[in-house]
Structure formats: structure tokens, C-alpha cells
């Protein structure tokens, strides 16, 4: 394995593949914080030059966290589809990038190799891609999943309705939900982040959402984003639950900080398959985000992009209905500003789709990150054009419980209108049937909360 490159007479040599991957990453404040970044732009290019000649087989042989000490590495290695891997293993990262961009490579062809790719391969090729490269390949990917409704079909662009409330007031949650539905939002899921992490409050919110959906015949799915162990107890209480949620991280140690493991998630998944209320077959919802491993000092000196890809390696074991990266929530010490958050959103979407996941994005910022509202609005259009499966949606993009800025009820129909996209077919038909939409145009009752009872 060649680990050095010469640029204009200067030779750069790297200790191992993990260092090459880290130094090839575009600038991220989190990699600076971890002390892993390239020292200057030339060293970054040198690392990319080295990376471009590494084969996918070498990436499989050199996971950034050793097999012996990490169950995520073991899960990825042991579950890898050997037949799919054989189709790509000989390619260098440069050749793999070009294969992805080649217009003869279809979304179907990408789908057929997805199960043979490791997270490190996704991270490596991502580092050789520009933003537009990431969008072109992302838009080509095909990932279609089904719970109550069908998500990810061509020409579709969906949204999670996020009616959070600082004290879990059910009335407050339902008021916000009704308004969101009247703007055509919520076809991916109606998902509430609870302020109280108890089985009883999880069950109470789910039951209220379930009533509202049944009363109005809304074809979508519901979820309350409490800890997975809390949701398991809520299921035992006998409440409806279309999707089960959990935040995932890219190493065993980081998952331990989240209070989860592969064994626990296996158990949760089995329970959900037995007791979940969505028709399926997909019933899980995961969230991720660059920097989460470093924040619990569980990154094993790997860059945050590679650690993020490893979350997807974990997620795909459970054939999820939704995965999204909460890209700007973690704060400026991991993604400093608009360009870094934008780049990370496109990277995460690309890597997730490449690995076969129905990837959405919470395009967002906290108020101490240097991203403007205009930059955030632009990002939503970029994601829509890149084939992102879904965004979030809440009143004026303001989450009154988590205190950050995301996508609004108004943004989702705006981006759909710009890009000529529609919600899931089932939801689309419902919107037209109640007059919220008139085909692809806002209908008579668009934005009128009285449509919902």
C-alpha cells in the first residue's frame, strides 16, 4: 500500500490509511479540534492523491477502528455481501468515483453494489468528490422504502413534521401538527422529540397523533423520539407506534455513551417487528451527525466523516424507513459555518444513499454557528436537487424545545414547487382529496388549519 505522494517536489508520507482518510477530508472544525486535519491545503491534496490509488479491498482490510475492539467494525465486516464486494474490490477510489459519475452507471447498478461497500469506502470516495459531484451521484441513487406509505420514489420529496413542545403539551403538539399538515408537510413521519423521556409520555403523544391521523385519514406514520429503551417500554404499555427511533454513532464506545449496543438494537428491532403498527416492512428511524463520536471521545483518531459513514454501516442492519443527519445541530466546534454545514449535509446524504439508506437531512443551525438564514435556505434547495429523501418541517423553522433553526412548514412546499417534486403518492392523493393541494399547486385549503379536525 503506497502511503506517500509528491506534489511540486515535496513528498508527503502518511503513517497509515486512517491518517490518509483524515487528512484528505475537507476542512471541518471538528477535525481541527481532534488534531487530525491536514496542516495545509497542499498536504490535503497529497492525502487525496494517495487515497485515490488505494483499492476498495485495501479499505476493507484497514477499517479505522480495529475489528478486535469494536462491534461496529465487526458488524460491517461480518455482514458484508461478498458477491457485491467482488464486483468492486479491485477498483481504486479514483476509479470508483469515476464509475459512480459515469452516465452509464445507473441507480440500479449502484443499488446492486451497496451491500458490498464498507463505510470506509463511502467516506474515501466522498473525499474525492466536489459538492456538485456529490449531488449528481446522490440524485441518481435509488432507495425506496415502505411503512404505511412509500418513500423515496423518483420525483418525490418528503418531510418530517416536527411539532415539538417544551413541556410536551399534547394540545400544543396537535395544534402545530394540524398546521404543518395543512402546508403539505409530514409525509415522511410526524415525529416528536419529547421533553420528558418516560414510557407514559411517549405513549400519550403517540396515541394522540394516532387519533389525529385516523380522524383525518392522513396516510403517514408517527414516531416519538425518546430513547429506544423507553420506546420498548411504551410498546409494552400497548400504544401504537409506526416507527421506532434511536440516535446512532459510529463506534462501540460512542454508542455506549448513547446507552445502546448492537445487541440492544437487535432486541429493539425484533420487538418493533412484532409489535409496531406500520404495515412495513421498514419500521426503524435513525438519526446521526458528524462529530458525535468525538464529542464522547470515542472517535479512535478517525475523522468525523468516516465516523459518520460508520453510523450508516450500523443503521443498514435494520433496514430503516428513515435515516437523517442532524447536520448543524452539534455546534460550531464540529462544523463551523455555512460552507462546512452545507458540505457535510451533501456528504452525509451521498454516503447514506451509496450505502443503501433512505437518507434525509435536518438542514439546520444553532444560533452560535456562523450560518446565515439565506445559506440555510439555499441548502434546502441543494438537498432537494441532490435527491434528498426528506427534510424536517416546523413553524417558521423554529424549534421551541431544542432552540435551533431548521426547515419551516413554508419551506417544504416552496422547494417542491421549485424542483417540480411531490410528496409520497399516498399523501399526495390525500392532500388533493381534502383541497390542501390541487395537483402540484397549492389548493383552496392550503395553509388552512381548519381542514384538519
Amino acid at each position: 500500500m503506497k502511503l506517500s505522494a509528491t506534489i511540486r517536489g515535496s513528498t508527503y508520507t502518511f503513517a497509515d490509511l486512517r491518517e490518509v482518510l483524515a487528512k484528505a477530508n475537507p476542512p471541518k472544525s471538528g477535525d481541527d479540534l481532534a488534531g487530525l486535519s491536514a496542516s495545509d491545503p497542499v498536504e490535503r491534496v497529497a492525502a487525496r492523491a494517495v487515497l485515490s490509488e488505494i483499492s476498495l479491498a485495501q479499505l476493507r482490510e484497514n477499517p479505522v477502528v480495529p475489528y478486535e475492539i469494536d462491534e461496529i467494525t465487526r458488524l460491517v465486516e461480518d455482514d458484508l455481501d461478498e458477491q457485491a464486494f467482488r464486483a468492486v474490490k479491485h477498483l481504486s477510489v479514483a476509479e470508483f468515483r469515476q464509475w459512480l459519475l459515469d452516465d452509464r452507471t445507473s441507480g440500479e447498478a449502484m443499488r446492486s453494489v451497496a451491500a458490498g461497500l464498507t463505510p470506509e469506502m463511502a467516506s474515501a470516495v466522498c473525499k474525492l468528490m466536489s459538492n456538485l459531484d456529490l449531488m449528481v451521484v446522490g440524485a441518481k441513487a435509488q432507495v425506496v422504502v415502505r411503512a404505511n406509505t412509500t418513500l423515496g420514489l423518483p420525483g418525490r420529496f418528503s418531510s418530517r413534521l416536527q411539532p415539538n413542545h417544551p413541556t410536551d403539551s399534547v394540545e400544543g403538539i396537535l395544534l402545530s401538527t394540524r398546521e404543518g399538515l395543512s402546508y403539505g408537510c409530514g409525509d415522511a413521519v410526524i415525529g416528536v422529540n419529547p421533553a420528558t423521556d418516560t414510557p407514559e409520555s411517549t405513549a400519550e403523544i403517540l396515541s394522540a397523533l394516532d387519533d389525529l391521523m385516523k380522524r383525518n385519514g392522513v396516510p403517514t406514520q408517527h414516531c416519538v423520539l425518546s430513547h429506544v429503551t423507553v420506546q420498548m417500554k411504551a410498546l409494552d404499555l400497548g400504544c401504537p407506534m409506526d416507527l421506532m427511533f434511536q440516535s446512532l454513532a459510529g463506534s462501540e464506545k460512542a454508542n455506549d455513551a448513547f446507552g445502546i449496543s448492537v445487541a440492544l438494537m437487535d432486541e429493539a428491532y425484533e420487538k418493533m417487528r412484532a409489535k409496531g403498527t406500520a404495515k412495513g416492512p421498514n419500521c426503524m428511524y435513525f438519526e446521526t451527525g458528524q462529530g458525535s463520536a468525538l464529542s464522547s471521545d470515542a472517535h479512535h483518531d478517525a475523522d468525523q466523516l468516516t465516523m459518520e459513514a460508520r453510523c450508516y454501516g450500523f443503521a443498514r442492519r435494520y433496514k430503516p424507513f428513515l435515516v437523517n443527519t442532524v447536520v448543524g445541530f452539534i455546534g460550531p466546534e464540529y462544523l463551523e459555518d455555512g460552507p462546512q454545514i452545507t458540505r457535510a449535509a451533501l456528504e452525509d446524504h451521498f454516503m447514506g444513499k451509496l450505502l443503501g439508506l433512505p437518507m434525509g437531512c435536518d438542514a439546520c443551525f444553532t444560533y452560535h454557528a456562523r450560518m446565515s438564514q439565506d445559506e440555510l435556505e439555499s441548502l434546502k434547495v441543494l438537498l432537494g436537487a441532490a435527491g434528498c429523501t426528506y427534510l424536517m418541517s416546523m413553524p417558521v423553522g423554529d424549534d421551541i424545545m431544542l432552540n435551533y433553526q431548521s426547515t419551516s412548514y413554508h419551506d417544504v412546499p416552496s422547494v417542491r414547487g421549485l424542483l417540480g417534486k411531490r410528496p409520497t403518492p399516498e399523501f399526495d392523493a390525500w392532500l388533493s382529496s381534502v383541497g390542501i393541494m390541487d395537483g402540484d399547486k397549492p389548493g383552496e385549503r392550503f395553509g388552512d388549519v381548519r381542514v384538519l379536525r
Binding site: S29, D32, L33, P163, H165, P166, T167, D168, S169, E171, G172, I173, L175, S176, E179, Y183, A195, T196, G331, P332, E333, E336, T366, Y367, H368, Q373, M394, P395, V396, D398, I400, M401, N403, Y404, Q405, H410, P413, S414, G417, P442, F446, G447, D448, V449, R450
Partner: protein
């Protein structure tokens, strides 16, 4: 004629010579301002929705629409709220502020505001000069070390900070606790309390600092407390109260709860997850279990 030229000629003939769009119709009639589709402003049922909504949530529902976007007034209101949040994050404690308050002023290892946001590790440790000065000037072997700090909102620190600090010191002294030298620090993260408290050989350290602002807010303070402060303590070893401001927990109430919490730590000789909150009466949810009440939105922009 070349092939290309012939192709262009043929296309021209096919498309005709007309401009791609017809000329605009003139003259244009005066345009009526379009109605903002604020549904809750309509009579009867809708008014009830608006009232209901305000009663149950501070989410910005019922703002209406023009097309699929916001009315101008909503845009301005949003931008004003965003400016308040960004202003709070961007503010820096002035050099002479501590002196005006009669407090010792310490600096962390952070050199600039940008570095403060990017390097939480540097905001958790004192600058060596500050550490030396603190070692020389602070009262030692005390029960409680009070610290006021900027955190993510110097505006909150300079706003309700001095009042909260004064109430807290008063409450502790009223309970017979030995209170250390009050101090203010700039570019500080929560864990800075460990080093400041360790140098003062305090049994408990309490840092009062600005919270990460939300939209339209930036005046909230949080308080974190740790028993036996030492560099290397983790979050699980701390207790906290958030949402301290005029519309949340008012400083006087917060100070009383904090003093009770400090007393509980001294009795039980521990803090964080090991602290039995049920044995400390009158906390009112201190310790991080209280929900943050919805904050009433102030109308920041008024258009007649």
C-alpha cells in the same frame, strides 16, 4: 453554408422571428395589496384557533402566507428575533466590567471570540496568568465558590448575572455557609468551575453562565454545580438549573434553589447522578429534571 449555420437558420425559421415572450400589456392597473392569508385572523372559528394556539404553544403557528412564503411582517419579526440571538452570542464581556461590579476578573486560555466557539477545551481551563493570580487572591478552604461567567451569552451574564450572583451569595451566607471570593470569567465553559474551585479548595463550585440563545432570546442563564471540584470531573458529576430569567425561573427563586442544592451536596458529600435529590426539599426541579416552560414571544417589530 456550413452545417451549423444551416441548422441555426432552420431553427430560426421554425421558431419564427418573434421574441420569446410577448410584450407586456400596458398600461398596468394599480395593484391592490394582496391579502396575507393569515387564516386565524378570519372571523369565528379561526379566531378560536389563534386563541387556542397562544394558550398551548409559543410555536410560530398561524402566521399565514403569501404564496408559499411568509408575509413581510413575519419576515421582519423573524429577522429581529434572529438578530437578538446572534447579538447575544456575539457579545463579549468588556475588560472593565468585572471591576465595575467589584469582582475579580479571570481569563481562560481562549484568545478570541472565534476561538471560544471552536475550542471548548480552551474555555474549560484558566489562562496561566489568571491561575496564578487566582491562587494569590482567592479565599481558600471554603464551602462554596461562586463564579459568574459569559458562557454562550455575555448579554445574559451582564443582564441578570449580578442579581443572581448577589442573591445566591446572600442565600448561602444566610445558611451559614462559607462563601469564597466572587469571580467573573470570560470565554468560559461549564467545566471551568473545576479548576477555579480546585484552586480555592472549595467543597462545592457553582458557575452561573449565559445559555445558548434561542430565537428571540439571549437573556437566559444556567447554573451548574459540582461537589469537590477538580479538573477532570465529567457531566454526570454535575447538577444544573436552566432557564433562569425574568420569564422563566426568576433570579431570586433560582438562588434559593441553588443554595438548597449546595446544602444537599455538602450533606451528602456528592453531586450529579449520585446525589439523592429526593432528600433535598424545595428544589422545584433543580438538578436538571424541570421542563423548560414555553417562553412568551415578545413582539419585536411593530408595523402600524
Amino acid at each position: 453554408m456550413s452545417r451549423t449555420r444551416r441548422m441555426i437558420e432552420e431553427l430560426r425559421t421554425e421558431l419564427g422571428e418573434q421574441s420569446p415572450l410577448p410584450d407586456p400589456v400596458a398600461p398596468v392597473a394599480p395593484i391592490e395589496p394582496p391579502p396575507v392569508r393569515v387564516n386565524p385572523r378570519a372571523p369565528l372559528k379561526d379566531a378560536r384557533f389563534a386563541a387556542q394556539a397562544a394558550e398551548h404553544t409559543t410555536a410560530l403557528v398561524g402566521v399565514g402566507r403569501v404564496g408559499t412564503r411568509y408575509a413581510t411582517e413575519v419576515v421582519l419579526q423573524f429577522q429581529a428575533e434572529l438578530a437578538v440571538a446572534h447579538g447575544a452570542v456575539g457579545a463579549v464581556l468588556p475588560d472593565d466590567w468585572a471591576e465595575q461590579q467589584g469582582l475579580v476578573f479571570l481569563s481562560t486560555r481562549v484568545a478570541s471570540h472565534r476561538e471560544f466557539l471552536l475550542r471548548p477545551d480552551l474555555g474549560r481551563r484558566l489562562h496561566p496568568e489568571s491561575a496564578t493570580r487566582w491562587e494569590a487572591e482567592c479565599a481558600k478552604d471554603i464551602d462554596i465558590q461562586p463564579i459568574l461567567a459569559d458562557g454562550l451569552s455575555a448579554v445574559a451574564c451582564m443582564g441578570a448575572g449580578p442579581e443572581l450572583l448577589a442573591h445566591f451569595i446572600g442565600q448561602c451566607e444566610g445558611r451559614g455557609l462559607r462563601v469564597g471570593t466572587p469571580v467573573v470569567s470570560r470565554f468560559s465553559r461549564v467545566w471551568l468551575q473545576d479548576e477555579i474551585g480546585q484552586i480555592a479548595r472549595a467543597k462545592v463550585a457553582c458557575i452561573l453562565l449565559g445559555e445558548r440563545p434561542g430565537l428571540g432570546t439571549g437573556d437566559g442563564l444556567s447554573a451548574y454545580m459540582v461537589y469537590d471540584p477538580k479538573v477532570g470531573r465529567t457531566d454526570g458529576e454535575r447538577n444544573m438549573i436552566s432557564n433562569i430569567h425574568a420569564r422563566g425561573i426568576v433570579p431570586a427563586d433560582a438562588a434559593e434553589r441553588l443554595a438548597r442544592l449546595a446544602g444537599g451536596m455538602l450533606d451528602q458529600k456528592t453531586s450529579g447522578v449520585d446525589l439523592d435529590l429526593s432528600k433535598i426539599p424545595g428544589l422545584g426541579g433543580a438538578g436538571g429534571t424541570a421542563l423548560r416552560e414555553p417562553q412568551v414571544r415578545k413582539r419585536l417589530v411593530s408595523i402600524p
